[in-house]
Symmetry: none
Subunit: 210 residues, 2 copies
DNA sequence: ATATGAACTACATAATTGTGTGATTGTATG
DNA sequence: CATACAATCACACAATTATGTAGTTCATAT
C-alpha cells in the first residue's frame, strides 16, 4: 500500500485527488493539506511514501515546501504538480530534489501510474517537462567553443591566477622571473580581451578555458 | 501520418518493431536499417519525423549515429532505444541532442504513445531513465551548501567584481563613495576567507554564490 | 534601553597590478 | 634563410588594490 500525502490549496482539486487515489487499489491518502505551513511536522507524523505537491500555493509555495522537507528528509518521494510547465519552476524543483514533475491536466489513470513509478524509484515527468529538462541539460553542457589559443605556458599561468596566486608566487612556482610572469599575463589579457586579473579569472570560468 | 525510420541491428526486433508500428493507425515506417553506416544519406532520402535508434549496434553505435545526424539535421526527433538504462550512454545521448530515451522492455502500447509524444515536441523517457537524468542534474548543480552569509549589499558588490568592475566603477554604479566600496569588499574578503579580488571572483564561481 | 550589525564615509600607507618599451634565445614553418 | 612567435628577462611609472584605523547613522533584536 502506497501512502500518499497531498498539498493542494484548491479544495475541489484536493478532494478530487483524494477520492481518486483513495478509491484505487494499492493507494492510500494519509492526509491532505491546503498549505505547507507545518509541512515538516506533518511529514514526520504521517510518514508518507509519496507527497503530491502543488507548486502554486499561497504563503509557502510548493518549491519552498520541497526545500523544507529535503532539509530533514531525503527519502520521501516528492511529485510536483503544476498547471504550467514553466521553465524556472521546473529547474528549481529539480535542483531541490523533486522526484517528478507532472502537469495537472494529466489524466487520472496516468496519475496513478506516475505515483507507482515514483514509489518504485522512477522519476515520472510529463514529456513536455522532460523536453525542457533535456534542453537545459544540453545547453548547460555546451562549451562556448570560443578558443583564445593560449599557449601551454599561458594556460599554466592562467590556472595559477584562477587559483589565486600573486605574480610573485607564480614566479616562484614556475621558476621564472616575475617580469616573465607579467609578460605572460600581458599576453593572456590581450588574447582574452580583458585588462585585469579578476576579469581573466571570470572569463576562465565562464568560457571553461583550462 | 508520422514517418518513422528505424535503426536496429537485431533483425527480429527490427521486423517486430516495423510490423507493430506500421500496423498502427497514424504511424508509418518508411525504412528500417541494421546499421548507421549511411545514416546521413538515408535520413536525407526518407525525411522521417522520428528515428528510433538502437544504442547497442556494431560498427557505428547509436550515439555515433545520433551525432552524425545532428551535424546536419536538428529537426528530426530521435528516440534512443536500449536494453539498459546505463548512466554513461544516457548522458552522452542527451548531450548530443536525443529527444527521448526508452528501454526496449517498454510495452508496445507505450512505445506508440512515446513516439506520438516525441513527434509533438515532448521528450518521452522511461521513468528510470528520467530518474537518472534528474540525479545528474542535481548533482551537477548542487551548490556546495557553503553559506557565507553575505549581506545584500555585499552580494551586489561581489557581482560587480565578478563582472570585472574596478572600485571606482562600482562606486559610480552604486552611488556610494569609493571608500564604502573598499569597506564592503574588505568585509566580503573576511567572509569568504580570501584576500584578493581574483580569489573572490573564483570563489564566487566555484561555490555558486550570487 | 542597549547592543549588534549593516551601510556608509574618511585618510593613510604599502603592496600589487597594469602598461609601455625593449631585448635575447630557441624553435618552427614557409 | 628569413620570419614569426613562444618564452624568457629588465626597468619604470601609473593606477589599482589591500589593509588598518576610525567614526556616523539607522534599523533590528535582545
Amino acid at each position: 500500500m502506497i501512502k500518499i500525502l497531498i498539498y493542494e490549496d484548491n479544495s475541489q482539486l484536493r478532494e478530487g485527488l483524494t477520492m481518486l487515489i483513495d478509491g484505487s487499489d494499492g493507494f492510500s491518502v494519509v492526509a491532505a493539506f491546503k498549505n505547507c505551513t507545518n509541512i515538516v511536522e506533518e511529514v514526520a507524523a504521517f510518514n508518507p511514501d509519496i507527497i503530491l505537491m502543488d507548486i502554486d500555493m499561497p504563503i509557502t509555495n510548493g518549491i519552498e515546501g520541497l526545500k523544507q522537507i529535503r532539509k530533514v528528509n531525503t527519502e520521501v518521494k516528492i511529485l510536483m504538480l503544476t498547471v504550467f510547465d514553466d521553465n524556472k519552476n521546473v529547474f528549481e524543483a529539480i535542483k531541490n530534489g523533486a522526484n517528478g514533475y507532472i502537469l495537472k491536466k494529466t489524466q487520472p489513470s496516468k496519475l496513478l501510474e506516475y505515483i507507482s513509478e515514483a514509489a518504485s524509484g522512477g522519476a515520472p515527468m510529463t514529456s513536455s517537462v522532460a523536453s525542457q529538462v533535456l534542453k537545459m541539460f544540453s545547453s548547460l553542457n555546451t562549451s562556448k567553443g570560443e578558443d583564445y589559443n593560449l599557449s601551454d605556458r599561458e594556460k599554466e599561468v592562467l590556472q595559477f591566477l584562477v587559483d589565486g596566486y600573486s605574480y610573485k608566487m607564480i614566479a616562484a612556482e614556475m621558476y621564472i622571473a616575475i617580469d616573465t610572469v607579467r609578460s605572460h599575463i600581458k599576453k593572456i589579457y590581450e588574447k582574452l580581451h580583458v585588462n585585469s586579473k579578476s576579469e581573466a579569472v571570470a572569463k576562465a570560468f565562464k568560457d571553461k578555458i583550462l
